[in-house]
Point group: C2
Chain length 207, copies 2
Amino acid sequence: MKDRNISLAVIRRLPKYHRYLKELLDNDIKRISSKELSKIIGFTASQIRQDLNNFGGFGQQGYGYNVEDLYNEIGKILGLTRNYNTVIVGAGNLGQALANYSSFDRLGFNLKGMFDINPKIIGLTINDVKVIDMDSFETFVNDNNVEIVYICTNRDGAQDVADRIQKTNIKAIWNFAPIDLKVREDIIVENVHLIDNLLTLSYFLKE
Amino acid sequence: MKDRNISLAVIRRLPKYHRYLKELLDNDIKRISSKELSKIIGFTASQIRQDLNNFGGFGQQGYGYNVEDLYNEIGKILGLTRNYNTVIVGAGNLGQALANYSSFDRLGFNLKGMFDINPKIIGLTINDVKVIDMDSFETFVNDNNVEIVYICTNRDGAQDVADRIQKTNIKAIWNFAPIDLKVREDIIVENVHLIDNLLTLSYFLKE
């Protein structure tokens, strides 16, 4: 598959394609043209053709795309052909919200444990997953082949968690704390910086 | 201020500048060159100069930027010179997590109420804010000059909330539900699509 050197902008659009194709599949739609897809997804038809061409192009001139094939191919590109073991650090409201998202599990992100330092929270069970003392973090993640950590601590605790992650086999961090973590280059970090997002909204509101 | 026709990419970087400048201010740093700023923020020095030039340019050749002035100017551009009344719809874990973020309040986003349809949640008080029955939504938001709604419902409830929003004076939606809402063009929508974000992470993990 020639999915090297693809721009970040294209990659960031792929999950949206994946989401819309799932909806089409659920509605039993088997074929779709770039023009029809454009109407529901909001990208232009030419953008869609260009995006999908990056990956070899799955459309047939005049016939449109086979929805299921395209969904599966994009899933493959996004790494959804296997499961990922995950843990959450910080079992407060946000951590609990993420633990309750059933879609993550459906897509193959299997939550193995949650961690906290608060004795009042340790021992709780959220959506069948136990909240464990942070003391056992390194042992647990290595024993359970955990690859992704969702950091849901506050700002002050996050870098500390990142430092501990670097002593384990963990490969990726999904960071919700309002800080840019300092980690080794081979660890993948994806940030959800809520304040940055909210300030973009106030920018447009002001305009 | 000549902040028209600025690319979305630049606008999306501004909150990050704002966040880092706040840190510098908190550490009592008064001046910073684009080169020094580059080291801590991760953008190149020339990118920084180019970004800030979009807004008239606040740097003085050889002297660097005045941190406080730059922080205030970017705050102005981001619409932070006044307060915004907000409400949360969906007072589950995610809604409660957002209600507990003190930074939103500090930046001028004042949470006036939370709404839910679940009788077990209605009447609760989260961080001094009452959870109200969704029945009173329209009256409440108009009476309290609410401008921004954070939608924290599940997928199925979100469009319904968006439809009701369009009958009020609300101007902006911060949407956390995994769906692209259909709303009038004059309503600003900023999405936090968690699954899209997670799938970007698995893409890189696969690579």
